[in-house]
């Protein structure tokens, strides 16, 4: 190995010296916990007791037969798919309209759609809950005008999932719209004009120019939205947590189930195995995006 020249050694010293504390924090707060989650999943690990027994894959196999986990996984998947499809569909539609016919109100639309993104979820969900209230909510009042009977938006297990999807879409769509809008605006006008000269209708321009060019960005927002939607928690916690209902009990979702196993039953190993399943979902989604991104577009 050649000796390191003094000037270079000074640079190394500077770089490593300032980087070291940050990397240490990073390792302590991100890398180690991620690895340790996987490690914990192979143990019977009590939060309060001293029981730390290696149990192999038991936690993983037991989870598969656990009705709570099954319910949580199914509910979370439904919420994630619903949120992703609806928020991206709506965002794409609005972005296209703003990009091609928004005129002067485009900026206002951006602001109105983005406000929910920066609103904290706890107060936002409270606002939704009062709109969705069975007796005095505005939504049931509006439905009543059309002769539709009051619906239990927050207490019926199926309707509560619908409500949670609605809140999640509401909170996400503005972000997706802004990202898609950037993509649409970056498509050179020249392409459209050339197509228009050749006699292509607006729809055909959109179908054959805009849409194909938007695929990578659509993929990006799809993966981001799905990952976030799989971690749904706050909406569920707040929506069902009034005087009658135990928080989050109505619609069981994965993160809620993880916390219940970990912090109520003190079963950290079991909860960690559940987190690993959630992690697998995230990894699969990332791999899908990676594979599709690296495919040359035709």
């Amino acid at each position: 190995m050649p000796p390191v020249p003094p000037r270079r050694r000074r640079v190394y010293l500077f770089a490593y010296g300032f980087l070291a504390p940050i990397i240490a924090l990073f390792a302590f707060l991100r890398i180690f916990p991620i690895i340790y989650t996987v490690f914990l999943a192979f143990f019977n690990w009590s939060l309060v007791g001293t029981d730390h027994t290696f149990v192999g894959l038991d936690n993983f196999t037991n989870l598969l037969g656990d009705p709570n986990f099954q319910t949580a996984f199914l509910n979370t998947t439904i919420i994630a798919i619903g949120t992703t499809v609806l928020s991206i569909g709506l965002a794409f539609f609005v972005a296209a309209v703003v990009a091609y016919g928004g005129g002067k109100i485009g900026g206002l639309i951006e602001i109105l759609f983005f406000l929910p993104v920066v609103t904290p979820l706890v107060p936002a969900t409270l606002g939704w809950r009062s709109l969705l209230d069975y007796q005095h909510g505005l939504l049931n009042a509006i439905f009543g005008l059309f002769g539709i009977p009051n619906q239990a938006w927050t207490t019926d297990p199926t309707l509560a999932i619908v409500s949670i999807i609605a809140i999640s879409v509401w909170a996400q769509v503005g972000y997706n719209m802004i990202i898609l809008l950037v993509g649409m605006r970056s498509i050179p006008r020249l392409y459209m004009e050339a197509a228009a000269v050749d006699g292509a209708s607006t729809w055909r321009q959109f179908r054959h120019i805009t849409f194909p060019l938007m695929v990578p960005i659509l993929l990006f927002v799809t993966v981001i939205t799905t990952i976030q939607a799989y971690n749904v928690f706050t909406q569920v916690f707040v929506l069902a947590s009034d005087v009658q209902g135990a928080p989050g009990y109505l619609v069981r979702v994965l993160v809620y189930d993880i916390f219940q196993n970990g912090f109520r039953y003190f079963n950290f190993g079991y909860a960690a195995a559940e987190a690993v399943y959630l992690f697998l979902v995230v990894i699969v989604l990332m791999l899908i995006q990676f594979r599709l991104f690296n495919r040359p577009t035709d």
């Binding site: 980087l19 916990p33 703003v98 759609f113 920066v118 706890v122 409270l126 769509v173 972000y175």
Partner: protein, 277 residues
């Protein structure tokens, strides 16, 4: 000519429809504000009116009297300010060094940071809890803040910005002038990065202001609650009606909503440039 007029009419219709959907988007927020300003008896009206018939601020007084919203807000400010301070320092220093210095491990560190940026906090929160417990920081302000002192995405963001707006020639010239490496990093670089630093500051502040899950897990003393957690607890207490609850909700959301309305251009630009959320 007729076709042109028809095109214009369609465009107007589209814009009206867009505006209607946009108003639906802000309606839950409007509804919170409107509910928070009406006296309790008006809550029972069916159908509810869009605006209060008798405007009142009593609900805000009731909210502040029934729960320590004042200290919750202060806790949130401390939490968000300290977290933002640390995230700015760690992100800028790491971003600058990773962008401008060649040394063994540089790429590896960068890829590691990038790869973990997308892993949601909920997945690895259990070991973080064990660590904070081992440090005896459960139910303390430092324990609340600790996981929020670094931001993987912030490091990535600052590295990109350093590459884009800190020229090597300027660094070399400053070295010729006898400035130390530390001097360059502390005095010169931040001046070139002002827009990026302010964008990151906004997002870091927003992140901790809206944080809910970690405060819920790590705190059980209501005096330490940030306002989101306090509001959630307020929500599950028995004697609160929707008007008082809405007043509390408005208090908890007002800072971010106002900040957004003031800084909207910068925030939307920040999102569009970085994909950051």
């Amino acid at each position: 000519m007729g076709q042109l007029r028809r095109g214009r009419a369609i465009r107007l219709l589209i814009q009206i429809a867009l505006l209607a959907v946009g108003l639906v988007m802000v309606f839950p927020l409007f509804w919170l504000i409107s509910t928070s300003l009406r006296p309790a008896p008006e809550l029972l009206e069916s159908p509810p009116a869009l605006l209060p018939q008798h405007w009142t601020l009593d609900n805000y007084a009731s909210a502040f009297a029934a729960a320590p919203f004042g200290s919750w807000l202060i806790n949130s400010v401390i939490f968000a300010t300290v977290s933002t301070f640390f995230i700015l320092i760690t992100s800028s220093v790491a971003g600058y060094i990773l962008a401008k210095f060649r040394f063994p491990g540089n790429n590896f560190i960068f890829i590691l940071i990038l790869a973990t940026a997308i892993v949601p906090f909920e997945i690895y929160v259990l070991p973080v809890f064990l660590e904070v417990q081992a440090l005896s920081l459960i139910n303390t302000m430092p324990g609340l803040i600790l996981p929020y002192v670094i931001l993987s995405y912030g490091i990535f963001f600052m590295r990109q910005n350093v590459m884009a707006s800190v020229p090597d020639e300027l660094l070399d010239a400053s070295r010729m002038d006898g400035l130390s490496e530390t001097g360059i990093m502390v005095r010169l670089v931040p001046r070139l990065l002002a827009p990026a630093i302010s964008a990151l500051a906004i997002f870091a502040y927003l992140q901790s202001w809206t944080a809910f899950i970690w405060p819920l897990l790590v705190l059980n003393d209501p005096n330490l609650f940030p306002v989101q957690l306090g509001l959630a607890q307020f929500n599950s207490s028995v004697s609160v009606n929707y008007a008082v609850l809405s007043a509390g909700a408005v208090v908890a959301m007002a800072p971010t909503v106002i900040a957004f309305l003031v800084l909207r251009r910068r925030i939307i630009e920040g999102v569009t440039l970085t994909g950051f959320k």
